[in-house]
């Protein structure tokens, strides 16, 4: 791509037709992402979108940037390896609430701590869409819509923002797929954050959670960006789960420090030196004291 060419959102879309149900919230997320990338004028070949498995995790193939569609729950470690090995890239991890908070929960915890430079966008529909509608960690305790939990999961829902904050994430926001422009702005800010940025996106599953069509009426852009962790905690104590916006943005590297970038140039001289440490000569100190 020529750097002087101005890219529009549609230039970040691929020719592949999404498998999503008509009306699925994930379309809005795809739109917001392409808008954000166009807004930041990032060259498509310098962006990588990494996902797990689920309806939402199909997203990478619908973009024209580099994509990685891995296995269920492991988007974050793949993205971390890529971001650490290739700090010159823009790395975005994405997927669903099942992928990220159920099977992938441990990586979520540790990615928040590790603070590698990447954005994590979770399309939260409080259900496992891909496997036909079982309860996810964010499903309400009394949601009885799945044959697997006919009386509802019966346990307290997972609170993504609180967990992210407890675990040490430095950038925490909530968006709504029904507001692609607002979401695009949040995403652009997340992408520019020089550390781990977490974005929960309410993205309705119109097939297995048709009641989520009401989200439009429930969401409100109520978060005011806070820079103080304790203040963010206090703010979350009254969160209704539908407030959108940027909740918390830590001063850079407050929450940990991203691993320093790798310098990928070969230094073969050093390699010979490394071999030297195995030699018997070292055992008598020759290498240090003589010659």
């Amino acid at each position: 791509m020529n750097a002087t060419v101005v890219l529009r959102p549609k230039d970040y879309k691929s020719a592949t037709k999404p498998v999503w149900c008509p009306g699925c919230g994930d379309f809005g997320v795809l739109n917001a992402l392409t808008k954000a990338l166009a807004g930041l004028a990032l060259a498509p070949e310098r962006v990588a979108v990494v996902s797990g498995i689920g309806c939402s995790s199909r997203l990478p193939a619908y973009t024209s940037v580099y994509g990685f569609h891995g296995v269920h729950g492991r988007a974050l470690p793949v993205a971390t390896g890529l971001a650490v090995a290739r700090p010159d890239l823009t790395v975005i991890a994405t997927g669903g609430d099942g992928d990220g908070f159920s099977i992938g929960g441990n990586h979520f915890l540790h990615a928040c701590r590790r603070n590698a430079r990447l954005t994590y966008l979770v399309m939260d529909n409080a259900v496992y869409g891909m496997t036909k509608g079982q309860a996810s960690p964010t499903s309400a305790a009394d949601w009885a819509g799945s044959k697997l939990t006919p009386d509802g999961p019966g346990i307290a829902p997972f609170r993504p923002l609180e967990i992210a904050l407890s675990a040490g994430a430095g950038f925490i926001a909530r968006g709504f797929s029904g507001d692609p422009n607002g979401l695009a702005r949040l995403l652009a800010e997340a992408i520019e954050y020089p550390g781990f940025a977490f974005l929960q996106v309410l993205s309705p599953c119109i097939t297995y959670r048709p009641e989520q069509l009401e989200y439009k009426a429930l969401v409100s852009a109520g978060f005011e960006p806070l820079a103080d962790r304790n203040a963010a905690f206090r703010r979350l104590l009254t969160d209704d789960g539908f407030t959108t916006g940027l909740l918390y943005r830590a001063p850079v590297s407050a929450g940990g420090s991203a691993p320093a970038p790798a310098d990928l140039t070969d230094e073969t001289a050093t390699l010979a030196e490394l071999a030297g440490e195995f030699t018997a000569a070292r055992l008598r100190g020759a290498a240090d004291h003589e010659s």
């Binding site: 193939a61 492991r74 390896g81 090995a85 441990n106 540790h110 030699t279 008598r284």
Partner: protein, 587 residues
């Protein structure tokens, strides 16, 4: 038959057994000898009983011998724990400190040659003296090592502790040597006090264990990313890399678990940076799903799996060759990948390097099967004769930019290897996928795409020219041993001894375990009338694997036994004679 001298130093926690053993091996290296040292510990996390198990020789040696010629006991704490591991030669010498009580029955029953040396008392006479240094002086003398080499090594090792320490240690060495002098064995199978080795060459030799060698080989071949989760007995590979990767522009990340470490490697490798992780059975089990992803999405990477006693948590500190099944057959679906194994400790470096080159050339995961015996035994070895191989990936070269989306990541090619782009390359964008996909990487459920990609992935492994590294063949007897990994050196020594008995046995040791090099193997077996499969396992995993793919001579005897005890040449030799006797009856 390798003329050699095997000795053990044992004692309770804190007695300094391992220090003495390690200095002894180092001194042997300085004296131009070869040798190896294994370590054995009791169950205590720390401070428990320990045994340093050495073998010294004038020629390269990597197998333990059948029995020990010398046992030096700093004390008798829980010695029965080591009895199994310490078979003594009929004429073995046992050196005991009378201050620590009578020789326990398990030891006394094995030999009559017992000498008492008051190690503790001797050390106490020297200000700052330690019994293990007395034992070192004594042992080195009995083993025929030149005093100068031991002194040089000890001076260097203790330099940072100050002159007093050094002086005390040297005095202890002297005391030990004098105590030994009276009991110097008549027949010493290694050369005399003054080594005949060319000192320059000797100083170039490597003193290292297989884990360090593995880390070095990987780094030399081009690995620049490592994700790590510690596990015995693989941790040293990770620790070695952690200390060196930054100096060559690489990075190591400590992961939260093995699910993360393998996927971090996938991410780095997808990004174009050669990646490796090291683990052992339990960790490999957790990586299985993602190894399948690497197969399907064609991501190169290396997993160095250092085997230990299994199943489950098993015996983390002891060796076994029983992760062969999971390494070769453990992935779900049809997931062709590569499995290689070093044939010895020194071979860990070139074979690790080869593993990296195979991964990168074939864009597939490679499992390097090492084991505790290779990884944690320290040896004195000649450095690799030729430069280690370096990795090269078939990279995507951007074509005409119009139309820009024409890149087919998974294109069908004659050899099955498709040029691979990575982020940063304009025009190379694609989505890597573990779903069945088209040549462009788009998910598909069509038969032609599924079969096409299955064929392609099998083809790239089957058509690759693995060159001479597929295995080693020694000798041309009509009787053959087929073996692999840490069983190779004991088996080879058994063949050498058989030859000394007039029985010519061919040794075939495989480095390439999967895809099994059937043609090479069958060619190497030409003229063989009877065959024996040697491995360190309970059920003969290697034997079954060979049967599944190759035509083996009839009869073929499957000889194997599990850990925790190491394989020894004598038991293999015995099995060989048994096979030969059967053959003669049949003939």
């Amino acid at each position: 038959m390798t003329p050699s001298f095997s000795l053990a130093v044992t004692g309770s926690g804190g007695a300094g057994v391992m220090t003495a053993g390690q200095l002894l091996l180092d001194a042997a290296a300085l004296a131009g000898r070869y040798g190896l040292m294994a370590r054995s510990f009791g169950p205590q996390i720390r401070g428990g009983e320990a045994a340093a198990l050495l073998r010294l020789a004038d020629r390269p040696v990597e197998s333990p011998d059948d029995r020990y010629d010398l046992l030096v006991a700093l004390d008798w704490g829980n010695i029965e724990r080591f009895a199994d591991e310490l078979p003594l030669a009929a004429d073995a010498l046992v050196v005991a400190d009378p201050g620590h009580g009578a020789v326990p029955a398990v030891i006394a029953a094995q030999t009559g040659r017992l000498i008492e040396v008051p190690l503790t008392a001797l050390a106490r006479e020297i200000p700052g003296g330690r019994p293990n240094m007395v034992a070192l002086g004594l042992t080195a003398c009995l083993a025929g090592l030149p005093a100068a080499a031991v002194e040089t090594r000890v001076r260097r090792a203790l330099a940072r502790h100050g002159t007093d320490s050094v002086t005390a240690a040297i005095a202890c060495l002297d005391a030990g040597r004098q105590a030994a002098a009276a009991h110097r064995r008549a027949r010493l199978p290694v050369s005399g006090d003054e080594s005949t080795a060319d000192p320059t060459t000797a100083l170039d030799r490597w003193v290292l264990n297989g884990n360090e060698a593995t880390g070095f080989g990987a780094l030399a071949a081009g690995v620049r990313f490592c994700a790590a989760y510690p596990i015995t007995p693989a941790t040293e590979i990770l620790e070695w890399l952690a200390g060196r990767l930054p100096s060559v522009g690489g990075r190591l990340v400590q992961a939260e678990d093995e699910l993360a470490s393998i996927n971090m490697c996938i991410g780095a490798a997808y990004g174009g940076v050669p990646a490796l992780t090291a683990t052992s059975g339990p960790g490999l089990s957790l990586m299985i799903e993602s190894l399948g992803l690497a197969v399907a999405a064609e991501i190169p990477l290396v997993v160095a799996n250092v085997m230990r006693g299994g199943p489950s948590t098993g015996i983390p500190t002891k060796s076994e060759q029983t992760d062969l099944n999971i390494a070769v057959y453990g992935l779900h679906g049809e997931a062709p990948h590569v499995v290689v194994a070093p044939t010895g400790i020194a071979d860990c470096a070139p074979t690790a390097a080869w593993a990296v080159t195979l991964a990168e050339a074939l864009q597939t995961p490679v499992i390097l099967l090492s084991d505790q015996a290779l990884g944690q035994t320290r040896t004195i070895a000649d450095p690799p004769a030729t430069a280690l191989p370096a990795a090269r990936r078939t990279a995507f070269v951007p074509g005409p930019t119009d139309p820009p989306t024409a890149y087919r990541r998974y294109a069908h090619t004659p050899d099955g290897v498709s040029p691979m782009s990575c982020p940063g390359m304009p025009g190379g964008q694609y989505t890597a996928d573990g779903l069945t996909h088209t040549t462009s990487g788009v998910p598909s459920t069509r038969a032609e795409d599924h079969v096409g990609q299955l064929d392609k992935r099998r083809r790239k492994l089957e058509h690759h020219d693995y060159g001479a590294r597929w295995g080693e063949v020694h000798g041309d007897g009509a009787l053959a041993i087929i073996t692999w990994g840490s069983a190779t050196h004991p088996a080879r020594e058994a063949c050498d001894r058989a030859a000394a008995d007039g029985l010519s046995v061919r040794l075939i040791a495989l480095r390439l375990l999967s895809p099994l090099p059937v043609a090479q193997l069958e060619a190497a077996l030409a003229g063989v009338r009877a065959c024996m499969i040697v491995e360190h396992s309970h059920t003969g995993q290697f034997y079954r694997h060979l049967r599944a793919w190759a035509e083996l001579p009839r009869p073929t005897l499957a000889w194997h036994r599990p850990g925790p005890l190491p394989l020894r040449p004598g038991e293999i030799l015995e099995a060989l004679h048994h096979l030969q006797a059967q053959q003669e009856v049949a003939a």
